[in-house]
């Protein structure tokens, strides 16, 4: 076996058009056998572009991607044998039933009809889809369609599975079911690379996370390591009616020992602190005269790590 299942080196993608867009600016990533790896970043950070190149659907401007030791640009057809993909949108074959979507996928990967049938039935069982066997894929809910897509993507026993924003458009219940399905893949030893802009998802599922923004890797490590390295901080976000003389408050706060940093934002004030203990009432008191419209407190999480790294919210 290859110790490194996915090896991404100095990956760069530039879209040359009227507005030159640098989607990837030298990404380096290495995925080990059997790990679940999360690519966390806001929309437009370069997550989908990375997946597109790794899955042979897009060509890099520079850099290389090796999947199970195979260069995906030089040998795309061979690399695809090792790749399973669940794209962001439902790309199930609308002309086929649920069963046929998986069955024909197996045939595309060289299974005999008997092997394909056995594998399809086993997967339908595993993903609790057996009752939907003959359903038309147009009639499936978002959550069910996602499950069929995952079952289809792993049907040929790929070495690595790419999940692009797997919970986009799913209701909370379907998201939990999807998480469970991904957890289940761990037992099968499949390496998973998932992209997400939900920090809970990255936190919950991933063994390691890379935080990316503007096509660059900002930080990389286990969720726990990221949270401790980049400060297990609480972030207070205040929206204020007026900003006059806010600088004085910022200075006062910055002078305190329990405050890591305080700064004014376009909408008000952001305070990053070691803990919320005792600080909250004082912040509220100081900010009251500016008219508090809204107050958000983010407990230490990958979200706060992202804010500390970029100064921005994941959803901004």
């Amino acid at each position: 076996m290859f110790p490194l299942i996915v090896e991404i080196q100095s990956l760069t993608k530039v879209y040359e058009s009227k507005n030159r867009v640098v989607a990837l600016d030298g990404i380096d990533l290495e995925l080990k056998q059997g790990e679940i790896f999360g690519l966390l970043g806001p929309n437009g950070a370069g997550k989908t572009t990375t997946i597109s190149i790794a899955t042979t659907r897009s060509l890099p401007t520079a850099g290389t991607v090796h999947i199970a030791g195979i260069d995906v640009v030089k040998h795309p057809a061979q690399a695809r044998r090792h790749i399973g993909v669940v794209p962001q949108f439902n790309t199930l074959d609308r002309s086929l039933t649920v069963y046929e979507n998986i069955y024909f996928h197996c045939l595309y990967f060289g299974f005999s009809p008997a092997q394909a049938k056995a594998r399809t039935l086993a997967l339908l069982e595993q993903f609790l889809l057996i009752e939907r066997k003959t359903a038309n894929v147009n009639q499936l809910s978002g959550g069910l369609a996602q499950r069929v897509q995952i079952a289809r993507a792993i049907a040929h026993r790929p070495t690595v599975l790419f999940l692009d924003e797997p919970s986009a458009g799913l209701d909370p219940q379907s998201r939990m079911a999807m998480w469970k399905a991904v957890e289940g893949l761990r037992k099968e030893g499949i390496t998973v690379l998932l992209t997400t802009h939900y920090m809970e998802e990255a936190d919950q599922l991933s063994d390691r996370v890379a935080i990316i923004d503007h096509g660059r890797v900002l930080a990389l490590g286990s969720p726990e390591k990221l949270k401790t390295t980049f400060g297990a901080h609480t972030v207070f976000d205040l929206k204020l009616k007026t900003h006059d003389d806010l600088e004085a408050v910022v200075e006062t706060l910055n002078a305190r020992e329990d405050v890591a940093s305080a700064e004014s934002t376009p909408e008000g004030l952001r305070v990053i602190a070691a803990s919320s203990e005792g600080l909250l009432p004082e912040i509220v008191q100081m900010a009251t005269r500016f008219g508090i419209r809204d107050l958000q407190i983010a407990e230490p999480s990958l979200e706060t790590v992202f804010i500390e790294l970029t100064g921005r919210d994941l959803r901004e």
């Binding site: 597109s52 899955t55 042979t56 659907r57 897009s58 060509l59 795309p76 057809a77 061979q78 695809r80 044998r81 790749i83 993909v85 794209p87 949108f89 439902n90 790309t91 199930l92 074959d93 609308r94 002309s95 086929l96 046929e100 979507n101 024909f104 996928h105 197996c106 045939l107 595309y108 990967f109 060289g110 299974f111 092997q115 056995a118 594998r119 289809r152 040929h156 026993r157």
Partner: protein, 277 residues
């Protein structure tokens, strides 16, 4: 499944490519089988009505009818032409229409382009499958041409090797044209393409008259040489109704091969552009 079988599945090279190709073909066959009635109606309706109106109704209207111009042999003249039209329409319907929607919002093509096969082979499978449908469509015209016309059609089946060759080449050509249209045209404009490309090249494709008889309109006779349908009609004419004037068979074969290669190349480039960004 044992790990031994697993590693057998992972075998690389031509044998996996072939299995993968056949898998794509099996998928298309299964979809077609489910839609066999719509398929037969789609390919059969036009030649059926055409033969019925022009070779059954009009000749019965008598000699006083100014529209009964085709003469008694009109059925013989248009049999090859109608086969060419059937090939053409079937090729476009089997490749261009599904491709343009699969490339569209649903991106249904994704799973098939992710199979362990070079992308040119995925496109080739589309063209081959469409060619098979085109051949069926062309053969369906033959029994109609025997039973419908008021005056019997005089076809000659001795040149069947030429017929087989022209049928296969024409069908691949139609599939290649379908690939060009399907990969280059936005699905919203696909109806327009029928009106501004498919219909004109069909009407000016020497379907309803032999190319030799265009000699009275010299400029048109030369202009239509750029129309690939002309060589389909003329090729089938040379093979099925050799008694009617037609181009030399070797020139037809050269032109069919040329157009298939040119359109195939263009279509493949369009396909790759749509699949890989």
């Amino acid at each position: 499944m044992s790990s031994h079988q697993d590693s057998a599945i992972r075998q690389a090279g031509p044998s996996l490519y072939l299995k993968s190709f056949l898998g794509l073909f099996a998928r298309d066959l299964s979809v077609l089988r489910r839609e066999i009635i719509p398929f037969l109606l789609r390919v059969g309706m036009q030649p059926l009505l055409f033969l019925f109106v022009f070779t059954f109704i009009l000749p019965r209207m008598g000699s006083g009818n100014p529209m009964a111009t085709g003469g008694t042999d009109f059925g013989t003249v248009i049999l090859p032409g109608l086969m060419a039209v059937a090939i053409m329409f079937s090729g476009i319907a089997a490749v261009a229409l599904p491709l343009s929607s699969e490339f569209g919002i649903t991106r249904e093509i994704d799973d098939r382009v992710m199979c362990p096969l070079p992308l040119w082979a995925v496109a080739l499978e589309k063209v081959c499958f469409s060619a098979m449908q085109s051949i069926v469509a062309a053969l369906l015209v033959i029994p109609m041409a025997y039973f419908i016309p008021a005056h019997p059609v005089k076809a000659d089946w001795h040149l069947w090797p030429l017929l087989a060759l022209v049928l296969v080449l024409s069908s691949l050509l139609a599939g290649s044209l379908g690939l060009v249209i399907g990969s280059k045209v936005n699905s919203r404009h696909i109806g327009l393409v029928f009106s501004i490309i498919v219909v004109p090249i069909t009407f000016l494709g020497c379907v309803y008259y032999p190319w030799a008889m265009l000699d009275k309109i010299r400029w048109l006779q030369i202009a239509v040489l750029f129309n690939p349908i002309v060589y389909m009609s003329e090729g089938l004419r040379a093979a099925v109704t050799p008694g009617i004037p037609h181009m030399p068979w070797w020139a037809i074969l050269v032109a069919l091969v040329f157009f298939t290669a040119a359109l195939g190349r263009l279509g493949l480039r369009g396909f790759l552009n749509r699949v890989v960004s």
